[in-house]
Structure formats: C-alpha cells, structure tokens
Symmetry: C2
Subunit: 400 residues, 2 copies
Amino acid sequence: MQVAVLGYGTVGSGVVHVIEENHDSILKKTGVDLEVKYVLDLRDFPGDPIQKKVVHDYEVVVNDPEVKIVVEVMGGVNPAYTFTKRALEAGKSVCTSNKELVARHGTELIAVAREHNASYMFEASCGGGIPIIRPLRTCLCADVIDEITGIVNGTTNYILTKMIQEGLEFEDVLKEAQQKGYAERNPEADIEGHDACRKIAILSSLAYGKRVDYTDIYTEGITKITSTDILYAKAMGKTIKLLAYSRKEGNKVLAMVAPYLVGQADPLASVNGVFNAIFVHGNMLGDAMFYGQGAGKDATASAVVSDVIEEAQVLGTSVMSAWAPEKQELMNVADMRCRFFVRVSGSDESAARDAFGDIELFDAGVSGEYGFITEEMSEAEYQAKALKLDGVLAMLRIRD
Amino acid sequence: MQVAVLGYGTVGSGVVHVIEENHDSILKKTGVDLEVKYVLDLRDFPGDPIQKKVVHDYEVVVNDPEVKIVVEVMGGVNPAYTFTKRALEAGKSVCTSNKELVARHGTELIAVAREHNASYMFEASCGGGIPIIRPLRTCLCADVIDEITGIVNGTTNYILTKMIQEGLEFEDVLKEAQQKGYAERNPEADIEGHDACRKIAILSSLAYGKRVDYTDIYTEGITKITSTDILYAKAMGKTIKLLAYSRKEGNKVLAMVAPYLVGQADPLASVNGVFNAIFVHGNMLGDAMFYGQGAGKDATASAVVSDVIEEAQVLGTSVMSAWAPEKQELMNVADMRCRFFVRVSGSDESAARDAFGDIELFDAGVSGEYGFITEEMSEAEYQAKALKLDGVLAMLRIRD
C-alpha cells in the first residue's frame, strides 16, 4: 500500500517514522503493508534517508496511480485544500492532522470523498494522539451524543498548569513555553482559544451530525487569567482549565470556548501539562473520557497512521461520516446557564448581595478585593447584574 | 438487520432498549437498520412488549437464516459457549458482554468466527461502556502496545472509594454495596480480583497478540485492605486502587491483579465509585486513558450495540483480531519490580532498616506500629527481606 506524505515537518517526519518503525507490527495486526512512496516538500533533506523519496511537484503524487493514500500534514489552508481536493477527486483517500483545513472545508471535502468512493479522515485534528474521532464514529455510534467537553489545546493547558503549580503569571510562563517549544512564536491561535474553537467545531459537527461553523462559536482565551484568579481557585478547591464545550438542546447546539473553574474531583482537573482530554456524554453511555497526548510528533503521527490503516482496509469505498452539510443552528451564548465566580475591588460585600442576591463568599487572602460565586443564571442575567456592581475585576464560569 | 438477543437480564434488556430508543439515530449515523427478532430466555415476560419476541428454544434462533447477528448476554460459560459456537458455525456474527466466556474460550471462538466469515466481538466484556477493545484494534493499530493498567472492576472501586472517602471498613461497605445492588450476593469474583483478572487477560491477548491464560495470572483482591491502610495512604498523599496490570518485556508478558497505592496526580487516582478506566501505553502514542462507566445496563448495552452495528457493516467478512492462538509466556511475578509500602507492629524502625536498607518512614498517627516505603526491588527480593522482619502487618505495592 503506497502512501504519499505531503509536508516533512514535525508530524510528517513522525508519520514516516511510525510507518517504518512499526511496519511489521502493523502488517501482523492489520494485514496492511504500508510503504511511503513520496514525501512532498519544498525543501531537500540531504543525508536523511527520506531524501530519495522527496519530490517538489505535487503532479508527481496526484498522477501516480500506485499512490492510493495521501497524508496531508502540511498545515494551513492553502495549498493543503487544493492538494486534498485533487487527491480525493483522483479517487485517493486522504488523511490529515490539519484542524484548520478540516474546520474550514471539512464539509466539502467529506462530500468530495464520498462522490469518489474515497475517504477523508482526520483523527489527529482533535486531541493529537487521543483516539476520539474514530470512537465517536464507531464506538459511540449506538448513542445519541448530547455533550462534549474538552481540554483540547496543549499549549494553554501547559501554561495554566505551570501558573497553578508554581504561582507564576501568564506572560512569564508563555515566554518559558516559547523557549521550550511548547508555544509558538506567534501564540495567538492557542492562547486566544482559536485552536480549541476549531477542534470543538469539528467534534460537534461529527457528534451532532450537522456542520458547526467555527466562526460562530463564542471564544475566550486565557490571556486575562492572573495569579490572583488562581489564588481564589485554590481557596475554592478548584483549578482553572480552558474548556471547549458544546451541548445539544433540542435542535440547537450551544458551543463555546472559555476558561472555567473545575472542581478537583472532576476527572478533567487532573489533566495537566501538555495532556489533553475529551469528555463525551451519551444518552445510553453516560460519561466517558478520552485522555492522552494532545500533541507531539509521534503521538500525533500514530493517530494519522491509524487513519492510513483504516483507509487501506476499506479502499474503494467511502467511510460514512455523520457530518452532514446542513448548517447547525447555534444557541445564543447569552442563554448559556452556569454559576459565575466574580472578583470585585473594595470590601463592601453588600454591594455584591444587592446586585446578585444569594452569593457564596471566598477569602483567598487578597487585600483590597473579595470574590464570590453566584447562583446558577444565564450569561445575559449575569451581564445585567454585573452592570449594577462597580469594580468587577474578573469573572470565571464554573463547570458543575 | 435482524438480531437475536440471548438472555433478557440486565444487559439483554438494555440492548433491546438501546436498539429501540436509538434506532433512528443509529440508522442515520451508520446506515444500519436494526431490529430485534427474537429474545431467547427461559422465562416469559407477560406485559412486556418484548413478550411476543420471546422464544425458549435456541433452535428457532440458530436455524433462522434471517438472523444475521446473535447477541449473547446470558453470562456464564454454558450454554453460552455452545450457543455462540453454533451461531458462528452457522455464519452468524456474535457479540457479547460475557468476559468469563471470552477469557476462557475467546481464542477458539475467534478462530471459529474466522473460518465461517463471521465476527466474534466483545467490546462490553472489558470496561462496560468504555470503548477499549475497538480502539485497541482500530485506533492504536499503528502502535506497539507495551503496557496496560486498568481499574476494570466497578464493585471493588466503589468499595475502595467508600472506604477512603468515609473511613469505613471493608466488610461494612461490602454489605452496603450488596444492599444497593453494586455487589453481588456472592461477591467473590469481584472482591478476590477474579473478574479483573479475566479482563486483563482479554485486553493483554488483544494488545500483545497471543493468548494470555487468565488462570496463570497472579491475582490478589481487596479483602485484606483495612481503614488503617487507608490512613497511611492519605498520609502519603496517595489512594488505593485495585489495578489490573500487564506489561510486555521482550517476548514475555508480566500480568497481575493487586491493590496498589496510586499517587493523587495519577489520572487513575480520580477514577472513583463505579467508574472504570484503562491506561494504555504505546511506543508512539505514549500514555492514553479511556474512562467511563464500567457497568450499568445502558452503558454496557451501548457497547454491545456498537459491536452489533460494526458486525452489520462488515457482514459476510471476518474482522481481523490480533489475538492469536499461541500461548503467551508470562513472566514470573517474583521478577516484578516496584516500591513496596510495609506496615510493621512495634516501634523499632531500625529493624526495618536492617532488613530493607534505605526506607522512607510515614507517620499516620497509628499507635503500636509504623509504616515505610522501600526502594524499588523485585517481589522476590521483597519477600526475602520481609522474612527478616518480625511483625509485618500489611504490604501494598506502589504504582510509580
């Protein structure tokens, strides 16, 4: 089974490594005999054994009938989109780790694959090495999925974990993470929540069966979290996690990305560092969680190669996807209900009671301010009440 | 797609419920139109809508060519074994939640299925509703799996969680669990670890590719755990979990079931109550964990029906299983290495140092005894050293 790998970056070199290193094990377990025929990259890699497979011209790949499966691990929307579409139109199956492309053009590419009896798979686009896309399709197919909650961005989880464990500020940990290679030089997509937003859009499209447009999803990042927020979190016996969340209610879906206060007994609370986890609720299954490395060369490549293997096993047919082209209507985030944690400057707690009614106060030993938790209410109610209160310093939602 | 359900107990009625309740969702997501044609049971169920499908004679099921898939949820080895084998020989695919049967006869039944272009699936046999068998086959197929650690028995995890959270003794919690239906009237299979042993045998056979005989696996239950052990666990910042563990080293596999001390930062530590979790380590993937409800009518049935759906999709072919008939050689448990926690009566800590060398002492405020952790050593070394020490009250292994 001849495979072409588009892009010899981190994931691409991982894919080549997994296919070579585990070749015999894969053959024995699955009957699939994988071989990388081409690596498409603009660069050359003199001295690397892969050099003899490197091509610079996509036409070589797409016009070779021996290449049945194309692994797109270039990242970015273009030319990945064009290359993917052309491969599918040529009847080749494609798999990818490219969440940006899947979030933006997944609906179309799935349809193109179907028309050409090929498959478009993207296990590695959400949760890196964590099996989640295929389990949603094959293991939880007997369930009606009604809720997904994920820690799906390793960079922000690493930063929050460091801030919490060592009492550091966001900017300092970000710099360190950049030095260690855990955060990119331009970290906006991670720290502003855009990466997590794309992933929850993909997972929600698969789980609820209609296209969730990521540009419609309310998204907050972690740049406003301070060490003082963390002091309060600890005083409440909680931790802070950037959650990508969606829930189906009737015909509508609520989807959002935001930092949440999470109780220590919640399995998501112990997902630390660069690890990711995805919580799924099904109407029969109840709660299930999938945990693992959300990034990393070999872990991500392992997920990509699991797609290659399945595509090889079903070659000539198109694997069915629940992701239909109709657009999923989203709930207004103003209707989202939860309890809210609020920090306010000053010491006049009666002002908070006047605005919010019953509240639970917490003392984190911070002078000049106080913190409290509201009763459950909608975002709209919260915003209206917060307007009545002077000196709101910070607000965090609570996962209950 | 006509299905017969053998046994209308807890799981059997759950399977009927899932197929009826989620029929349209399943059809839409997978294209599979499921219908229960027969329910085989010795009893009648007057007033239950299922009554018109009840049959008492297996010949009706096995001789009906319209029945393509048989769901065996009777439990026990006989007649489940005979019924399963005959269905497979008739070219019907079979799926089951029956870990006893899979652990004992899985090798043979997989081979019989293959000979008759049918499949034998058992997702629900390990971890109830948690997807683990299919992910091992389809998601982690690019990896060489070298370690599995599971909390795979809900009854013992419920009992340990209650003991830890409420400081109760084993016998008292067991009685309460029996009253609530979380433990059986004859609880031996759970509390002595036999159920966990069967499950780690099944998971290991699939992960490492050869038949692991459950009767060869060293197995300890939780009946000796006391509230004093738990006091020490808390003093060490740990919890106690019954772990089903296996690891591949070269051509050998180490497999065992025993209560372990688990650090609070370990994701397995927050798996509480009747929840289960299975940790898997792959050579590319690194650590991954699958978490969910290890038992329960609907959760288990959801896993069974996911097998039914896959069997329907591949009807007429046999899904490949890595589980080969050759017997896997097991390591002697005496060679298993870990750190050990030991409780000793008296107050002469020098005796422990004389026997074990460097130790780390822990004070749990229990008079008349002391506790310590050894350095890493083999079970054989531990046993030899413990012989030199009078008054050993308890020993627990430590998961590091």
